[in-house]
């Protein structure tokens, strides 16, 4: 249909408004930041000295960089699979003939609405050294676990918080994807004698793949860039012992505590590259972007 040229014109005219806005308000700021990573920058005065790749060398030599790397990867490895699977299963359950599904949906959406400061307050209340969780575990198992100042556990508390508040978001996305799956596919599967689980695995999962690609990618972006919760729980220090220091929190510390915007941007672009590579590998592995592509 149509000549190649017409397709090109059509394609770009549909993209035009978006591209204009992205150029001015996304690309220019990123380009500006891109150049800063080769400089030693004092943002206040605007003074800068060219230092080439020195910012990168400093980072690779920095134990805090590796700590933030370890924490962030641990975080992503744990949170992304869980939130994706839980969101998909919940969406499929709600989309099956369950009574009161809309009421369920509305209630499940609520954590997304709860502000992150309220969420953090609730979790601090639950997990502090004299809080509900600690006392409960003490009564049942007879041990007192210090969640917030134990380096191994502080990050886990943040992980749970994140899963809790992002699942409804991705669940809604999956649900709208499920609306587009043709009924006939399920009917065909029924005729072949497939049970509910088989149908989920053979029809729902593959048909949802493009959406899964989106959810996994945005999950990776969100988790690799995790900032708010880590900042609030550790008061911005990344402690105890760098255990809640994430990439984004370290970027923030470099930019505003060390006043070293050059190194902060260098780290930001390293993070960008890591996210891109991981996303690429994960989605190649899932073969997520190949359906009808």
């Amino acid at each position: 249909m149509g000549s190649k040229r017409l397709q090109n014109i059509q394609g770009y005219s549909f993209l035009l408004p978006a591209m204009l806005v992205i150029l001015v308000f996304t690309l220019i700021p990123i380009a500006y930041a891109f150049f800063m990573m080769f400089f030693k920058v004092d943002l206040l005065s605007g003074a800068r000295t060219f230092i080439g790749l020195n910012n990168f060398a400093k980072l690779l030599d920095d134990p805090k960089f590796w700590a933030s790397c370890r924490n962030t990867f641990r975080y992503v490895l744990f949170v992304v699979p869980i939130q994706t699977i839980v969101a998909m299963v919940l969406a499929a359950l709600l989309n099956s003939k369950v009574k009161f599904n809309r009421a369920f949906l509305t209630i499940m959406f609520i954590p997304t609405l709860t502000s992150s400061s309220a969420m953090t307050l609730i979790f601090m209340w639950l997990f502090n050294n004299n809080g509900v969780m600690v006392n409960l575990i003490d009564q049942v198992f007879g041990v007192r676990i210090a969640f917030l100042n134990n380096p191994d556990l502080a990050l886990s508390v943040i992980m749970m918080m994140n899963i809790f508040s992002t699942v409804p978001h991705f669940m809604t996305v999956f649900l709208s994807g499920l609306q587009d799956i043709p009924e006939s596919l399920y009917e065909a599967a029924s005729l072949d004698g497939a049970n509910a689980f088989r149908k989920f695995m053979n029809v729902t999962v593959p048909q949802l793949m493009p959406i899964t690609f989106y959810v996994v990618t945005m999950g990776l972006v969100g988790c690799f860039q995790i900032f708010d919760q880590a900042f609030i729980i550790s008061d911005g220090t990344g402690g105890p012992q760098n255990s809640t220091l994430t990439f984004s929190l370290y970027i923030y510390q470099l930019a505003f505590n060390s006043n070293d915007m050059g190194r902060a941007t260098a780290l930001a672009f390293i993070l960008g590259a890591i996210i891109f590579i991981v996303t690429y590998i994960v989605n190649k592995w899932l073969k997520a972007d190949e359906v009808n592509g």
Binding site: P17, D42, L43, L44, S45, G46, A47, K58, D61, D62, P63, K64, L121, M124, W125, N128, N129, N130, G131, A146, L148, N149, N150, P151, T237, G238, G239, P240, Q241, N242, Q253, F256, N257, S258, N259, D260, R263
Partner: protein, 416 residues
């Protein structure tokens, strides 16, 4: 196709028109009489009202306009953005903690010859806004110091009197230990804070300056300082010193104190307004912060007015700062409940005779101001991060201090 083009055209015209009208407006307002812009952070209603009233008095007296811009949160980030965009306010609040960074960047106007009657200020406050050459870059507006708050009701219930409380740190720790045996498990004899911001003066009194002359971190060269930190760690382990957030699940020290969960706390005068409004039933006394190693010590947190170097209205800005820290200071301090930075105003307001405020105000003369060169943020961050390991028992205090020193000095080396 046509319909879409029409929508797009309409949208772009709309957008273009409003953008134009906006920049026009901005152009007009800046050409008209040029008010002095003052950037401040969000604070309590009484402080906001006090600021508005004092600024109004200045406007009335001088016939000039002042535009107050309140930056609610992330003040440093917002201010940095405005400097980066060459859009800085004429006058702005500056914490002494952040002052070295601004001074080093060279974006502040030199006020050495502009601020009047400089001898009248408490000198430690003034000094925290000076560079190494003694040039002055901001005028102190108000300050807070730490003092020892005692919950009289709880103390008397446990069978003690305020006079029983020792004035030195070692005695205070022993007293807390004894006191804790008469309290319930969810109560604390004393609340402590493990950050460097609260303990710097105690370390200095012990004989250790964590920030060396060369701006490097030093946490290890003095055994007494390590012993001081150990007293905090031991106290927490035994339960007579408690951290409100981690050990009690309480949002702030003031709240723990106000809800009768703590007998003593070493806090700044900022808790007073909360104690007055939220916890009016609690009876308390305020004593000077304990001596450490036989020396008087407290932390001072100091805020001033700074003027941007690039302002087109330095004369007006200086005039305004002089009013706010001079003639207008009494009005500001009285309404806001903050402590005046001038000794004459302190005397005039009889703060040195006030039973609550005098403990704080007397500290201004000897307190350690929370400010120590451009590397302090890096040094204190490493300290706070590593010392937590000592508190949860993963490292000894010696090891944590050593690691903190290394972490800070490595980072400082990378910044150079």
């Amino acid at each position: 196709m046509k319909k879409f083009a029409a929508i797009l055209a309409a949208a772009s015209i709309l957008v273009g028109a409003t953008a134009c009208s906006n920049s026009e407006k901005a152009g007009k307002s800046s050409s008209n009489k040029d008010p002095i812009t003052l950037a401040v952070w969000g604070s309590s209603p009484s402080e906001s009202k006090a600021l508005e009233a004092t600024v109004a008095s200045y406007e009335k007296e001088s016939g000039k306009d002042v535009k107050i811009e309140v930056i609610q949160d992330n003040f440093q980030d917002a201010l940095t953005s405005r400097f980066a965009a060459k859009n800085a306010p004429d006058v702005f609040y500056l914490e002494s903690y952040a002052a070295p960074k601004f001074i080093k960047s060279g974006v502040l106007a030199d006020l050495s010859k502009d601020i009047k009657n400089q001898d009248d200020f408490y000198q430690p406050l003034l000094d925290s806004f000076k560079d190494k050459g003694g040039k002055l870059y901001a005028a102190p507006k108000d300050y807070s110091t730490l003092a020892l708050y005692v919950n009289k009701g709880l103390l008397e219930k446990a069978g003690y009197k305020v006079e029983d409380i020792p004035a030195d740190w070692e005695g205070l720790v022993k007293f807390s230990k004894e006191l804790q045996t008469k309290l319930s498990k969810d109560q604390a004899a004393m609340i402590f804070d493990n950050t460097l911001a609260r303990n710097l003066s105690s370390l200095i009194a012990s004989g250790l300056n964590p920030v060396t002359d060369k701006g490097k971190a030093d946490f290890t060269s003095n055994q007494k300082a390590i012993d001081y930190m150990k007293s905090l760690v031991d106290g927490q382990k035994a339960g007579y010193l408690k951290n409100p957030k981690i050990d009690m699940g309480i949002d702030s020290a003031g709240a723990a104190f106000g809800t009768n969960k703590a007998v003593m706390m070493i806090e700044g005068n900022w808790v007073l307004s909360a104690l007055k409004q939220e916890y009016p039933d609690v009876k308390y006394d305020v004593l000077p912060a304990p001596t450490v190693n036989g020396k008087k010590e407290t932390m001072t947190f100091n805020v001033g007015y700074a003027v941007a170097k690039d302002t087109d209205n330095k004369k007006g800005a200086v005039d305004f700062v002089n009013y706010m820290t001079g003639k207008g200071q009494k009005q500001w301090s009285e309404m806001s409940g903050t402590l005046p930075t001038r000794q004459s105003v302190t005397k005039e307001m009889k703060i040195d005779q006030d039973p609550v405020l005098s403990a704080h105000a007397n500290g201004a003369a000897y307190g350690t101001v929370w400010s120590s060169g451009v590397n302090l943020p890096t040094i204190s961050q490493a300290f706070d991060n590593q010392l937590l390991a000592a508190f949860n028992g993963d490292k000894s205090v010696e090891k944590a201090m050593k690691d903190a020193e290394k972490e800070a000095n490595d980072e400082i080396a990378r910044q150079e």
